[in-house]
Amino acid sequence: MSPVHYVALSVILFVIGGVGVLVRRNAIVIFMCIELMLNACNLAFVAFASMHGNLDGQVIAFFVMVVAAAEVVVGLAILMAIYRARRSASVDDANLLKY
């Protein structure tokens, strides 16, 4: 398979994740959609690494995975703190800073 197929698939997955972030209101599901977008970026990185025949893209994808893991840890901790204060995981209920 040509790498262009993989890149096209990563584009589709990225857009689906973006729609999920825009549409869903459960904060956990929004985090999952962000993970989907990061995975799509990783697929593009690996496809480009395969196209160029070197390993730099794979190393970048590895770093993306590590940063995504850190982001999930902090994000879910924030989510739990919000849930403790407001008893809800919906992003509509965390509106204290709303004008």
Binding site: H5, Y6, V23, G53, L55, Q58, V66, L76
Partner: protein, 284 residues
Amino acid sequence: MTHVLAAGTNTDVIARETLFWILAVASVGSALAMILVRRAVHCAMMLAVVMLSLATMYAMLGAPFLAFVQIIVYTGAVLMLFLFVIMLIGISSADSIVETIKGQRLAAGFAAIGLLVLLILGIGHAAIGPAAPSTAANGANNLSGIAALIFTTYVFPFEVTGALLITAALGAMVLAHRERTAPKPTQRDLAARRLASGQLAPEPSPGVYALHDAADRPALLPDGTPSERSVSPVLAPREVIEAPPAVRPKEGTPAITAESSEREPDPLTPSGQAASGQIGRADS
């Protein structure tokens, strides 16, 4: 698997194409289902399907190390963390369907179509050539090649990543820690609170009948009516609570119907007050 897939014979090419299309359809379908299903647990399962498909694709693209890291870190650790948080906070709450912002979904759809067109045009203009032969990758194999790159060219980002991980762990500890503002209640305090609450006995246990022994069967009160306090409040919105079996009154005794016993005080509550809001209050 990667050695087989990297070989260049004709049947292998056909097998790789077939596998790619199967995985592509599975991942796109799962991603669509992920943003369409309402429950967060189902979303997590769909995300697991996407991640496993992508891990297989990494193996097909000559990245076996990333494939295993994807399975171990993403599907193993990150998704497990998601499921853990869902278990802690959100198992009973499905996402509501109601739009709070008018026209939000329509606008999101237009934005998605615009982004898709933009990105497709971008990769259409880019010159994406065929895959390079895998022997061009430096190093003896994939693993030693990545190790050589990480510990020479990318050693500074690697160390910064370590600092980021430590910071994230500390941040999670700080955010998840809760400072105790009141002194810890002693056993005497708990006993006094239980006396003041008016309910001395524990909640009735769920239905144990001659034929059934299940947590979703409400217990029957002495007059034959089911007691909602005997089942977990989590089960009520999921609509899995079974109807209790019909109680047949003995011959000769007047039949007790639910209508006649509706207004009677709950015999399990000594003061007869409405106790449905007190579930789990006695020891919290």
